[in-house]
Amino acid sequence: MKRRLATTVLHAVLLVIGVATLTPLAWMVSASFMQSGEASTFPPPFLPSSPTLEQYTSLFTRLNLARYLVNSVVVSVAVTLISLVINSMAGFAFAKYRFRGRRGLFNTLIASMVIPAQVTMLPLFLLLNKMGVINTYLGVIIPGMASIFGIFLIRQFAMSIPDSLLEAARMEGAGDFRVYRSVILPLCKPILLTLAIFTFMGTWNDFLWPLIVMTDDSMYTLPVALANMSGEHVQDTELMMAGAVLTVLPVLVLFAALQRYYLSGIMAGSVKE
């Protein structure tokens, strides 16, 4: 009897938190289908009286949203692919090669993770300005090409791959690159997926750096465009909600599909030596 009561209370609390957590997102979706001005009434309507795609059409026709979507996709995909290759190579080297200074180098990298990215941003802007890549895709891609966290994830995973597998491949005449390509990469697939999701979402959701480096409207990524629009369209609640839905939806879908890999990445990142 006492146990039944406890179970009921527990689920009631779980449900209340769940509803509270989802309400802002549900309202965002609902308001994005409202007519202009409909959300600004009292009491606030929770469902659109007659759902419309008006907001979505004006985002694409009047507000150039397709362009921002393309920008976001290009930089996120590029950063993800490039950093996967570069980080996996370095992670492999740290895990499977013995060389002088390996430990010191790796520890230095790990220790420097405490330096916040903001410290680098001013000189990085000046450097990229000299290179002429401000306001180009490269301006976002270049600083994201390698990440210490990514190297760390791959290294931890690759260390668990038995040396005997690498030896076997070498016996059959595989060179170093061949071992990386045909043994390490296939075996690292789960952690590569984890890193891919982290990198993609991180780049997609990033705001401060693209805000700094993309100075021209046509190069904005979705978050920057959205922040900029929200200043001009303060009153257009429904329009902004449609923009928010389009920004959030891709990452939410990706997370829903690959949840397991994402969550295991959090765990791997939280187990430091």
């Binding site: 146990r3 689920h11 779980l14 938190i17 769940g18 957590t21 989802l22 309400t23 802002p24 997102l25 309202w27 600004s40 009292f42 606030p44 570069i86 190579m89 370095a90 090669y97 420097s112 405490v114 916040p116 410290v119 680098t120 941003m121 001013l122 000189p123 990085l124 000046l126 450097l127 600083p143 090409m145 390698a146 190297i151 170093d176 690159f177 997609w204 959701n205 705001f207 401060l208 700094i212 979705l222 978050p223 959205l226 922040a227 929200s230 902004m240 909600m241 923009g243 928010a244 920004t247 959030v248 990452v251 939410l252 990706l254 997370f255 949840q259 994402y262 959090i266 765990m267 939280s270």
Partner: protein
Amino acid sequence: MNVRALIPPAVLFLAPALTAIGIFFFLPVGAALVLSFTDFDIYALASFDNTRFVGFRNYGQLFQDPLFWIALRNTVYFLVVGGPLSIAVSLGAALLVHSRLARWKPLFRFVYFAPVVTTLVAVAIVWRFIYHPRFGLLNYVLSLAGIEPIDWLGDPSWAMPAIILLAVWKNFGYNMIIFIAGLQNIPDSLYEAASIDGAGGWQQFWRITVPMLAPTTLFITIITMIGYFQLFAEPYVMTQGGPMKSTLSIVLLMYEQGFRWWNMGYAAALAFVLFAFILAGSLLQSRLQRRVGE
């Protein structure tokens, strides 16, 4: 003769990553330190010749700048109230989801985690409307309980609490996942032994769960602190640091000084002060962690 044969393979595999990190991370960190000792401004942007070394002047100026102290106070407010609050919510949610009685665990875990993966700028815009004094959902819900409307983002004493609430909602799922893993690592036998000894649920929580979770909690405290020190997008989107500078954060001040007014020397000094705080906090906490570990 093959060049690749001359270079050790480890170097080949490391070169791209180390080059990228060296040029686009370590070099800027060093350059930022140098920059913080110069008067680099908009004229220097045109030609580096217009820059002079000014020693510690930026730092001296910083500590006399009322805006810096306001930004520091706001950031510390956000950190000291928002940090523990979101950790407490994370722990509560983890305990609930982890409970032996709970069903549909994966579903709840997914729902609680969903805000973490959303785009901060997008949800900040959503919350800006939720906080709307007349048409916002929050004031409507509060009005059902008879509470007068609050001008969440327009009232200097409510703006920061509003940002904290958004941050807790957005972040608690992340630490919840780490807490759940910590809870899974506590052996059931400990609880069974305590039950046999007659310890109630509350006692088990304080005597077993809390101490066993200590390393997890410290780790979470460190990453939460580092993250919360970098408060930026929420005030940028929701309040622009207002009203009356009540949500101006250190990073927002750095952004405005560096990239709006191009006072890059001054902004670099700000960045290093931010770094110093984060470093000091991390060192302090890892020292605590070592003490707890013993």
